[in-house]
Structure formats: structure tokens, C-alpha cells
Amino acid sequence: MSELKVIHEKAECLYGNYDRKGELQHQTHYCPGCGHGVAHKLLAEVIDELGIRDRVILVSPVGCSVFAYYYFDVGNVQVAHGRAPAVATALKRSHPESIVITYQGDGDLAAIGSAEIMHAANRSECYTALFVNNAIYGMTGGQCAPTSLLGDKTTTTPFGRTTANDGYPLKVSELLSALDGPVFIERGGLGNAKQILQTKRAIKRALETQMKGLGFSLVEMLSPCPTIWKMDPVDAQRHVREVLAPIYPIGNKLDRTKDRAPRAAAPPPPPLSELPRILKLPVAPTDAPVELVKPDSEYRIKIAGFGGQGVLLLGQLIAEAGMDDGLDVSWLPSYGPEMRSGTSNCHVRLSTKHVDSPLVSRPNVLIALNEPSLRKFIATVDTGGLVLYNGDSIPTDCIRTDITMQALPFASIADELGSPKVANIVVLGAFLAATNALPLAVVDRAMARVVKGEKWLEIDRRAMARGIAEMQSTEVKVHV
């Protein structure tokens, strides 16, 4: 006497009752004969066979399979039309131990989500994509898909798909196989039991590829849509075998499982106590300056020149030193379109009071490193202000008598020092000498923090000293 053993039944990772479904909770929502049901069944069996149910995160698309999460007793995430590869990318990267599976139709994957799938594949994101190609938009009622065949009459190609109007059927598996990233790509069919069993093996291999951490895997399935194709289910299956398969050849397209090494696991994160160091948060200086009561001061500085003159760095150094000196400061760069045309300027404020607006509209210090900058801003300088100009003399039509103006050939001085790049630091020295805005020791310390490399620091120190000397010899002294 023999016994009958159950060899095939509903997979364990499918819910016994589809509680998430509103009605008819014991049936899927798919049409009779629809390939989605078969694809679900295959995926479910493979998940059971591999024993990975608890680790699986299934990403449901938009399309007829939008409700895949009704059925699979796994972690579920439902996403926007076509975006499953992007969502899967982050899911997997967030939890590398999870098994991430996307499920997408041809409209979802090959049309609206074509950019996302291409890049996920190219990055070889370590997840598994199931691609159900029924050559039509099912859910929205039969519009043309990128995979619809030439001549197909759909609701949006009522006279048949033509190459002239709609281009060619898109061969996704071949296309993605041309990339260097993906590891395993196979096209299967759901056109008869033989194709279906072959497809199941492909799904298993794809998931094993992911479990080994090798990278991107995809299984395309040519799938019947009897409803939209207006065929009975048996004819629709035949259509898969006899009409779709010749255009979209079934078989393995790419297998790099032997060549690709598993991804290295990420190192464990550092302890939280390390964060301040990693984030380069400031530590208390050992030689913190004693807080002195300072007389009120208020510098509204505009620095302007052309790109490469170190305008922004000069401003930053003044602001850094101002901060160290206990002043409130702000530094605002111009970064708009003018940056592209080569001019550059920044607004710096130093104040013993709270800095309200970081924008300097009426500067009391203008540092103009070229003539156009001088012309552009000279009228905005506040009465009693200071102008430092990079040149031998101030152009006569720019001379104002209600302000202090000093021309110095900063660029030539820098050349003399052997580095045209330090002209801005010569200016810094001149500015400090002219205004006494900041203690030199404080500026020196800020410079040591901002300037990278001993060699540069050394040149900068010489440049600053030179700037101070040049300015002192001119007898201009301004207190703002």
C-alpha cells in the first residue's frame, strides 16, 4: 500500500487568507489566466525553498501587480510607478542582510522607470528584479507599452504600433546585459509548464546571486494578459510561446556569477563618541583669548575682484579671525551667475553687536582688487569709509574726498614675494594695518587653521607682514 504525499500546494510565504484584500479574500485579484498569478507562485516557492521568508522585502509596483503585498507574507513596501529600483537600492543598502525583491511590469520598468532600472543595474545594486513583460499596459486598460509588438493594436495605437510613431519593441534583458554592472539576467516565459519551470529555476538562481552578495540580478518573464489581449487564457499562453518568444528570445542573457566577487561587508560604525572628531567639530583652544571688553566696532566689508584673486579666502580669513576675537561675524559670497563670468565678491561683517543682515549694501571698507570692482562699488561706500585698491593709483574719476582711499600694487608685491597667489594676504596685512580691526596674533592663529600646508603658511606670513609694512609706510590710518 502506498501513501499520497502533498508535493505541491500553496507556498508558505503566501498568506492563507488575503486579509489585506477588501473582498474575496481567498482569491487573487488577477484575471483568470493572468501570468502575474503564476509569477507570484514561482517567487513564493523559491522563497520557501531558500528559507529566506523572514529576510525578504518585496517592493510592489504600480500596475496590475500593485497589490502584490496582499499575498506575500514578507516585509512589504509599495512604491510609485517605476521607482521600485530606487526604493530597492536604499532598502538593500540600509539593510544588506535583507533580501530585496522588486516586482515590476513593462510599463513600470521599461517606460516610466527606465532611468531607475538602468542605473540600479549599472551600479549592480544587490537586489533581484522580477520583470513581468506582458507587452501591454494592463492596469490602465490596454495602452501601448514599450514592449508592445509592431502592429499591435492597443488603445493608444488604434491603427497598430508603427516604428515611425512609436519606435521599436524594447528588449530590456538584452539592453541591461550590455552593461558592466549586472551579474545575472535571464528571460523566461510563462507560456507553458516547461517555460514556467525554467523560469522558476532562473528566479532561484537570481535570488542565490543576491544571497551570495554578488550584485544585480533580473528575471524577465513573458507573461499572458488574456483580458487585454482579448484572448482566452489558453490562446494567450500560446501567444506567449508563438508570438512574443520569437521577438523576445527566451534564455539566459548574462551570467557573471562565477566571475564576480561578493561585496565586502561594511565596517562597523564608529562609536558615537567619535562623531565630533569625524565631523571636525571645534575643540576648545588651549590658548583661548581672554574676553576683553572692546570698544564698539562695526566693519561692513565688501571685497571684490575676479575669480582666482583669493577674494573669498581673504573674506573668510577676516571672518575667522573676527570670530576668534569674540566678534559676531558673517561671510557671504557672491555665487550667482557673475561667478561664471569671472568676477567674485564677498560681504564680511565684523561687529561687537549682533550681526543682523549679512548683506553689505553700504560698506565702510571696500577692497577692490580690480578696476571694474572699484567702479561698481565705489558709490556705495559709506561716508568716512576706507577703500583699498589694487593698483598704482586710483583712477581720477573714482576719487571721492569724503572717504579714505589707498591704492597699493598688491599683485606686484605678491609677484615680488614669489607667488602671485598671495596678493590677497598682502591685502589682509594692509587692511589690518590701516584699521587695527583685529589683533595680529589672532589673525595669525586663524590663518594657521585655515591655510593648509606649512609651506603656504610660511609664504602667507611673509605676505601679511609685507602688507602691514607697505600700509604703515603710507600713513593712512582709519578707525571705523
Binding site: 499520497l4 504525499k5 487573487t28 489566466g33 487564457p233
Partner: protein
Amino acid sequence: MFATAIEEEIDIKGYVEINTDECKGCGLCVEACTTKVLSLSPCLNRYGYHTATNSDKPCNGCGLCFYVCPEPGAIKVFKAVN
């Protein structure tokens, strides 16, 4: 999971059980079964489908009907083991 075979038919190789609540009568199992075990019932189930039903032809437990069936729980296949 085991079920006892019908005792008289000792040479039975397989058996399929159709869940008539899940079956949508698509007929793919009927088409797939090489030994013509299955057919669509002339009767309708409560949703209005002609569900699949077993005939008196012997089933060999090959499972092909199971794989072509789009409803995950519509078919259960039993196979004889000694």
C-alpha cells in the same frame, strides 16, 4: 503532510485536489495535463466560474497543472510514496 490513498486503487500514482473557491476556471491546467485528468466543470461555482474538476483518468502526480495555474491555492497535488 500525508493522506491515505483510496485503498482499492493501490497502483494510484497521484491525485489533485481543486479548491473550487480559488479556481477561476481559466482552463490552463486542463490544457497542461498530458493525461487529460482535468476538465472544466459544466457547473458554475458561486462566483460564476466553470471550475476545474477531476475526471476518472489516472493522475500521475506530475505537477504540471499546479505550475500553470495562476491561483496560488487552487490546486494541491499529491504523489504516491512507498
